[in-house]
């Protein structure tokens, strides 16, 4: 039994190899980029717009709003990284309904890669925002004694980020695989639906946690926007 799609290797040349994780990731990347390109090819700047454009605007608007709500000012600076995190994880989970597909996020390599990206992105954005001194100073706050704990915290949370996503995604796929051998018909469908929900939740958690870490590193808390008023109000 395969625990990770890494184990499904299509091609290998020494250290280089092409496994299912990379292939499915490319597929997702292609789908996302091509879909975006298709929809945004004829973007309308008027009031009238297409359904797909509406959908993408809702998604992007939601991400921007979430980033603002967490407390990051200038969400356009971070939406490239954070938004892509969310969309990649979410789409990777959603695609589990496709037979034969294995989510790349069910690979600990992928989640580790994503976690490492966050691990690098946090000091990157922190330094970009408040300078090297300003960022490093945050490790000795409130006192110097806290320095080792802060470093441990930084590393452990990255590890937790990676393992959490991997565990959830892998377990979903594993449970479906196991259940298919026991109760092949109805139960796996229910579990797949549950897995979709779990995937969406994990995508959201991963995205929010990364946002929170970056927000903590930048200390730039923009004004929390007021909740949008309903038209009826």
């Amino acid at each position: 039994m395969r625990l990770s799609p890494d184990e499904m290797i299509f091609w290998q040349q020494g250290f280089l190899k092409l496994n299912a994780t990379i292939v499915f990731t490319w597929g997702l990347m292609l789908a996302l980029a091509a879909g975006s390109k298709l929809v945004t090819r004829r973007l309308s700047k008027d009031l009238a717009r297409s359904r797909w454009q509406n959908f993408l605007e809702i998604v992007v608007g939601f991400i921007v709003k979430q980033i603002e709500e967490v407390g990051l000012g200038r969400p356009r600076t971070y939406i490239g990284f954070l938004g892509t995190l969310f969309l990649f994880v979410a789409i990777a989970s959603l695609c589990t309904v496709i037979p034969g597909y294995e989510p790349p996020t069910a690979s600990l390599s992928t989640t580790t890669a994503l976690a490492l990206c966050v691990f690098v992105a946090v000091p990157f954005f922190g330094i970009a925002d408040q300078g090297v001194g300003g960022y490093l100073k945050s490790y000795v706050e409130p006192t110097v004694i806290m320095l080792p704990f802060n470093i441990i915290s930084e590393v452990s949370r990255t590890l937790a980020l990676a393992v959490r996503l991997f565990g959830n995604m892998m377990s979903g796929a594993m449970i479906i695989g196991i259940l298919l051998t026991i109760t092949p018909f109805l139960f796996p469908v229910v579990m797949t639906a549950l897995g979709l929900l779990t995937g969406m939740v994990q995508a959201y958690i991963f995205f929010i946690l990364a946002t929170v870490y970056i927000a903590a590193a930048t200390h730039k808390t923009g004004p929390i926007p007021e909740p949008e008023k309903e038209p009826g109000e």
């Binding site: 993408l56 992007v60 938004g83 600990l108 992928t110």
Partner: protein, 280 residues
Amino acid sequence: MLIDWFTVGAQALNFLLLVWLMRRFLYKPVLNAIDAREKLIAAELADAVAKKADAQKERDEFQKKNQEFDRQRVSLLDKATTEATAERQRLLDEARNAADSLRARQQDALNRDQQSLHDEITRRTREEVFAIARKTLTDLSGTNLEERICDVFTRRLRELNGEAKDGLAKAVRASRGPIPVRSEFDLPAKQREMIQKALNETLSADIPLRFETAPALIGGIELTTNGQKVAWSIAEYLALMDASIGELLKKGAKPRDTPEIKPGAKPKPETRPDTAKEPV
């Protein structure tokens, strides 16, 4: 080993590539489109606000003009009404004045006509009355009457005293020639003697007299010399009455209550014949 480090590196690269792709194809264009639309909406809202403000301003201006127009209209109407009222009053006054003056002229003409008619009637009546009286008295004049007239005249001569007597004496003395004594009828010798005697006795002198007849003296005798006159005649009474009636009519012509002279009314002489003052 669950972690394949080559895969980790590849996935990290893949992810970074995906970040770039998504930024290039999704976030940037979509956010730009949203921004453009928001700008468009903001511009349209601002435009709407400006238009609303303009409309409000124009409405205010229009209302102001309307109010101004109303006020002018009311004031013009008031002015026109006042002028019309004044004009009407002026025309009414003019018409009233014209009517008044016309009525006054008509009244004057009527009064004049009435007065002239009245005067004419009065004059005719008076003339008729005196003509009748004169004729009657002329007809009645006779010996007895003449004697009686002569008696009255001689008694008057005798009763002269004071200034009248002195004046007469002076006049008689100043006169040259006989003193004329006129009467309507030719006096008989007896009466001539009576008169001569009475005068002589009164003035204590012999005075020459010349007796003449004068038909105008209706039933009367008259002695005239140097502005002094002693007389008695019915014509004198008639003349006095005539004068008196004439005066009365003149007075009565002014007020409305002009006393009408009835043809049958007798004129009252102010003095009795025997006490009448002699006209000097």
